[in-house]
Structures are given as structure tokens and as C-alpha cells.
Amino acid sequence: MTPYVVTGLGVASAIGIGREAFFDAVHAGVRATELVEGQRPETFDPSAYMPLPANARVAEVRGFDAAKYLGDKGLRSLDRLTKLLVVAARLALHDARLKKDGAWASGPDGKASGPGPAETGMVVSNAYGSLEAITELDRVAVLEDARYINPSRFPLTVSNSAAGYVSIWEDLRALNVSVSDGNCGALDAVAAADAMLENGRAEALLVGGAEAMSEALFLAFHRLGAGGGAAQAPGAQGTVQACIGEGSALLVLEEPASAANRGAPALAEVIGYGTSFRAPERDAALVHPSPEAMQRAVEDALADAGVEARAVDLVVSGLSGLRGFDDAELKALGRVLGEDTAVVAPKMGLGETLGAGGAIGMATAIALLRLSPGPVAPPYLVRGGLRAAVRTVLVTSLGYYGNASALVMRAAAS
């Protein structure tokens, strides 16, 4: 892929909202996945029909108040997914200095100083859409009558609705692309953004993902016996479940020349991408982890970046606590990078955020590119240790259906 610089980052996560708050929380290894005595989920309350299981923890963006970032007008018709995404977009555009105080940046002469609405767009990943809105309408349709469903909420049931609302709120007109590839989607969004930027379809793109907590999402994982735990170091006692999380993260990607033209400093670079799919050996299987797909995705990402395996200082993995998947991912990483390379798992702290997972992984990678080697282990460490200052980071994600994606990031040239 063409190398791109990251000139801005917007995050609304369970461990912090905004770049600095997020970086601080990552560096401190904050865990929103830990069970807090007496704390109940904020986004739903299953206690009416089932005793809350002892391990029913979810990693929510607790106390999330979109009005704090967006003002209190126009929010009523939006769902949680849209609010999370719009907040991340607004923060990212301002962090990248594409906007200032809500307006597109301009020079002293009043003319645009960089990409404006017609040159800026977004590519965003989401796995399950607005289950909140779909459930709301389904409840009305099933328990009352389909004739009474709220037409102003209906557009929220369409998968790209949240992304569409971002374009309206932030006036992004170059393009708007939604991708869906489970927990690999946000890394694939970078590949789609590459196709758009390298062909001049936009100058700056918001790239990342979002997923919102909902009762339906929690129940789905809970029924499968796959929700309620959290990523742990391999060999740790306990759960084989993931802690379901939510959040949004958007990176602003530009070609280095575009960023330099407007004097925007780079937070990091994105330099290589790989993806792969493998069908399961058993025809009956649907959900299956593929170490072969993960290995191929990593090898391709390194080749695409022109980076040797031994140059990787740190892996920001997608390990989530689902033991079979975690083992497969670690196995693939071991085959390519050896067993000593530091592997961290931000899902230990943020939970499995699905469509946002890779985006939060990229945001974590940027936070960790500031780490220096030392006696202190990196946060969310599951294997290995740092040998040198973190310059090159591999971000990985292993999908539930035999798919896997990987991305190479490195420290910005100083």
C-alpha cells in the first residue's frame, strides 16, 4: 500500500474519550473489563427477565454524554452507535487540525488551508449495525403492530446509517464507505481507504470503526457462552470468554505530502496491510479460527510494508479471551515473529469491540509507539517483552469465520 501518515485520532472508548485521555489510560493499562462489585450495565438491564450472571460484565463507555461534544441539539433521533461515531469523528477532525472550533481550517487569508468538505471522507467498519434501533422497532412490531413503528428511527436500522449521519454532522462529501468484516473490519477499512486515497478520490479520510453495546449484542454472546470474560495472558486460570465492549476510533489518514503541505504533524504512519481467508477443514464448521489465515495476513502485511519480521517491536493483537481464537492467533504470530516478540492485547482492557476492534488496536498502537524500553512491561502484555524502543508495530485481528487481517504501523519520521 501507499504509506500514509496519521494526522489525527478520535476515540470514544471504555477507558477514555479523546486522544490524550485514551493514551493515558492505555499507558496505565486501565481495564474497563474488570467486574466492579455492584456495578450494573448502563445501556441495558436484563434483570427484569434473568438474574444477571455473575460474570456478566461488559466494557461500556460509561457516562457517555454525546451532548458534551456535539451540543444538545439534534441528538434525539440518534442511537448510541451514531453518537459514538460522530463524537470520534469530531474529535479526530479537530485533532488533525482539519477543523478548528467546528469550522474547516483556513489560513490567514480566509482560504482553505487543507482538505475541505469536498476532499474529505470516511471509511468505517461496523459489524452488527444498530441492534438497539432494530430491537426497538421489532418490539413495537411484535408486541404492538408494525403500523406503529417510528419512521424517524427506521433509517437507523440500515447498516451504514451511523456513517451517513457522520457525513451530515461533519459535512464530509468526498466519499463515505462502510465495510463489514467482523472484528477485522477496521483493519480492512485501511485497505479500502488506501484504494480511495491512492486514486485521488479524497485527500483526507477518517478511517476506523465503531460498535455499540446493546442488550441484543450482550445476549447473543451470552447465549453462545462467549461473553462475560476478558482477554488474559495465555495459561491464566479462568475464562474462555470475551468481555463484550463498545467504542469508536477514527484515524485521519493522508498522504505525507498532503499533511506536510498544511503543516500537520504526524502521530504515526500506516505502511502495510495483509488479509487472508481459509475455509475450515470440516464442511460443517461455520465459526472457526484459522492460524493459517492469520499467518498469511501477517506475512503479507510485512511484505507490503517492506519490513522484516525481526524489525517488529510489538504486536497489538486481537486476543479477546476466546481461547481457541487466542491460541490460533498466538500460534501464527509465533510462526512468523518467534515467541519472544512482545504481544499485547488491548481487549484485556477494552473488551471485544468487534467492528471497532481493529481501530482501537490502531489507536493503542499509536499510544504504544511512544513507549521506551525499560524495566516496565507494556500494558496488556500477554507474551514476550520489549527489546528496544517501539518503532514498528504490527496490529492483528483474527475473525470468527476463517478470516484474518494485519496492519503494519511505525513511528512518524521526525
Binding site: T157, N160, S178, G200, E203, A216, A220, A303, Y401
Partner: protein
Amino acid sequence: MCSRALNTRRLGPSRVFVTGVGVVSSIGLGRAAFFEALEAGASGISPVGSFDASPLGRLYAGEVKSFDARDHTTQGEQRRMGRCAAMALAAARMAVDDAEIDAGALAGPRTAVVVGTTMGEARILAELEYEWIVRGPQAITRALIPRYGSTLLPIHVARAVGAQGMVLALPAACAAGNYAISFAADLIRSGRADVVVTGAAEILQELQFSGFVRLAAMAPERCQPFDLNRQGLLLGEGAGMLILESEAHAARRGVRPQAEVREYGLSCDAYHITRPHPDAAGSIVAMRGAIERSGLTPADIDFVNAHGTGTKANDLAEAKVMRDVFGDRRVPISSMKSMLGHCMGAASALEAIGCIFTLETGLYPPTIGYDTPDPECDVDVVANKARRGKSDVVLNNSLAFGGYNAVTLFAKPGVLPPPLPRPRRPARPPAVGPSA
């Protein structure tokens, strides 16, 4: 994959060809039946049979009644997928057959699968939600849960054809087909794939149906794009899948290309979540983009396959685009939604295959039910009967929820000069819209 990708890129832009198409539609399954029905101006509209629509006061849709997943998929596949994936897979298999491509030639990392949709397996989700809402969370069928998710559409197809490259779903609402086909073409042009199985699929489902009724957008019986007495859209369902190949790959196996996927234009209205911008500014940018990026001018366009939903907002916006882009030249335009209803995510994939029909046969598919021209839509509608005309270069226009606009340009193989070098920097489009 990637080192080869870099080498390919140095050779300059590759042409991307359509070498096979597959169709599941309310007017026919497979290329031959679909093309015949397009030529005849057949209607796929009928009373909805899969659920009781009568309390909603609307009865009609372009439901695909002749599709039985068992005719197109294995028992194992039927156990692990819903109707939407089954339609996508059936259409993909037809496209593979149509492209006369060996299974071996598709297997491996150089084949990708990119599928568009709006809601994917909406019926599976509805079933899960029904169990939960009516009978409680313990009644939710566990085995059904992993079968939901748009992600699965390309996964099922990739498994069936042995693809090991990118598998990606593009949920781009009613422009999803154009998004998928266009992004697939980019994957080939940039050297990331030799072959992409691409297209889109959508199924009719009760919640969507109710939603469009509640938006007061649904016609009672007929979808009449550009007609003065239009009463709105009708929903439909189906799948359109295409095999896209690099020029080199197609040449190596000696296959006859059906069309060139030349270029596309994208934009976003950033205006309203469901309505097109009344100025159609974004849609104009997208159409001009597709033409200019192809190295062509509006004078080169022979026909436009319309988005043509049959709502007044859409028709007026689209007529405005035609006037703005083509000026006084009345380029023929037609809406297949008059025959199929609005197949949402699948719509622009089926319409892309309609473009292939035009390039191959020299016929423009008709807009049926076109009785009374709307003076506010001063466009040359291909009324009621297929029309023969010049058909070297055609556009597939689409708009979608979220303000998405996507226009893809298809050309008869061999009529266009080699593609332009890829621009490194965008030509900044003229400022558009109210706040630019």
C-alpha cells in the same frame, strides 16, 4: 501477494473485465432468463407471500418466488446460511459458470470476494429477535446466532469458490452493488487480486417493508419512475454477482470479456439520511467523476441505467443530474426498478448486469408502467419497450440512504483506449452545495 502487487503496479493501470454474471431476480434466474425478461419488459411484481403484509395497507413487491436454495446449494451450506447468502451464493455459482472459469483458477490468495448488502441476513435477525421478545432470552436458538451478520455473505461465497484473498462486505445501502463492483475493480487495478467475485444481495423482510410503508414511500401496486402519476417505490429482492478479472488473467485463459469496468465516481451528500439533496450536487459530482476518470466526456455516454426508485424526490434529483451532466443532449435513461422493485443493496448490482445486457445486445431495458411524462422530469425515458441504440459506453447510477452516491461506468470491450494513468492527487472538484 503484496510483492507481486507492487510489480503489477509498476506496469501501469490494468483494464478490469467482467467475464461472467449470475442473477437471482423476480424476473428470472440466470443470465439468459434475466436478459430475456429485460428485453421483454417483464414485471416481477406480485403480492408478497413470505409474510402477511395486508395490515400495512401495501401488498406488492418484487419477491423472488422461483428461488429455492436447495436447487443451488449443498445441504451443508443450507444448514449454515440464510436466504440472503443462499441468493448471493447461487448468483455467484451462476457467474462462475458463465465465466467458464475452472474451480482451480479461482482457488487461492489471488481471488477476493466483495459483496454489498443493506441488511444481509435480516430474516435470521428477525427470527432471533422474535424468539427473544416473545419467549425470552433462553429461547433464542444458539445455532442461529453465528449465521447473522453481513460479514457472512462474502465468507460463504469465498468458501464455495476457494477464494483466499480479501473477503469483505460493503453495507452501502441502496448503492451497495456499485460500491462492491467498483471497489472490486480497484483491488484488481492496484494488483491486490487477479479475480474478484463481486456483487450484492438483499432479501425482502417484514421490518424493512414496514419501515418503507411508514416513511410513506411505498406505492400500492406499480413502481413508475419518472411518471407524473408515480406513487412511490416498491421493494424487491435478489442477487446479482459478477466475475471481475484483470485483463492479463482473462487473456491467459482466453476468455471473451463481456464488459470493461472502467471507472467510478463517489460522493456523499452530507445532507439528509434518507432524502437525496434537492440540488443533486453530490450525485452530479459522482457522475462527472465516473466520466472524467474514465478519460471520457459526457458526449461519449450512450445510456444511463437509472437509480429510478419512483419516488418524486429521487426522480427530480436524477433528472437534474441528467440535465446538469448532459445539457441539451437527451441521453436515454431507464429504470429497471419498474420491473424488479427496489432490491435495495442488490439493486445496483442487478442494474450493473442490466448494463452488461445493454452492451451485449444493443438494447436499453424499458421503464415499464411509464404512462404520463412528468414535465418536471425532462428526460428521455425508455418507455415500456426495450429500445435499440448505440451502446458502447453506459453509466450505472445509484443513490442511497446516508447520502451515498456511486456511479460506475461500463464499456464494451475494445472500444475505449487504455485507461488513464491513475491520478496521484485529486483534481479538486468545483465547490458544491450550500455551505461550500
